[in-house]
Symmetry: C2
Subunit: 101 residues, 2 copies
């Protein structure tokens, strides 16, 4: 399992229709084959500036790469992400191997 | 639901026994009342420097605050976190309200 997450801010005004539109339209990412547990989240810790997050899981690296190259993802990145996102950070997780010392 | 996550690096050498010990002993956090879905994770994206992550969920803000003040958490922060963690960032998520525009 690979959990792909990204935390970000938007260029849009807080609470604006453009903000809502971006978050709503990102729903298409969850329909890409191989994506499971897709979530759109509000970031609420006052200790970081980021305001939103997406999270999704892939069974393996092949599924992750297939998502990255999928036309829906490529189009979303080109037409929406690059134009509307201000700052972001990607964090990808895999289960930690905690075998005995 | 509030998902509390923290992504971090350790002061220990990569693959060291001290690194393993920290990650193993953090298991006690998952036993604190109110903590659900506790996970210890490896951060694998090359786009950020952080190497590990913890994730847990609380039913509500009261459960989160109870965790923060719980003796097991306070002790872990004082005796392990403050001494062994190098850099970290907290990211807290709640479900996004995507009501119609």
């Amino acid at each position: 399992m690979i959990r792909h997450t990204v935390v970000f801010t938007l260029r849009h005004a807080v609470g604006s229709l453009k903000e809502k539109s971006f978050l709503r339209d990102a729903e298409v990412l969850g329909d890409i084959p191989g994506v499971t547990r897709f979530e759109r989240l509000a970031q609420v810790s006052g200790k970081t500036k980021y305001r939103f997050g997406f999270s999704m899981e892939f069974a393996d690296q092949d599924a992750y790469e297939s998502y990255n190259g999928h036309p829906i993802h490529v189009k979303f990145v080109e037409e929406r992400w690059l134009r509307e996102v201000d700052e972001f950070m990607e964090i990808d997780y895999v289960p930690l191997n905690l075998a005995p010392l």
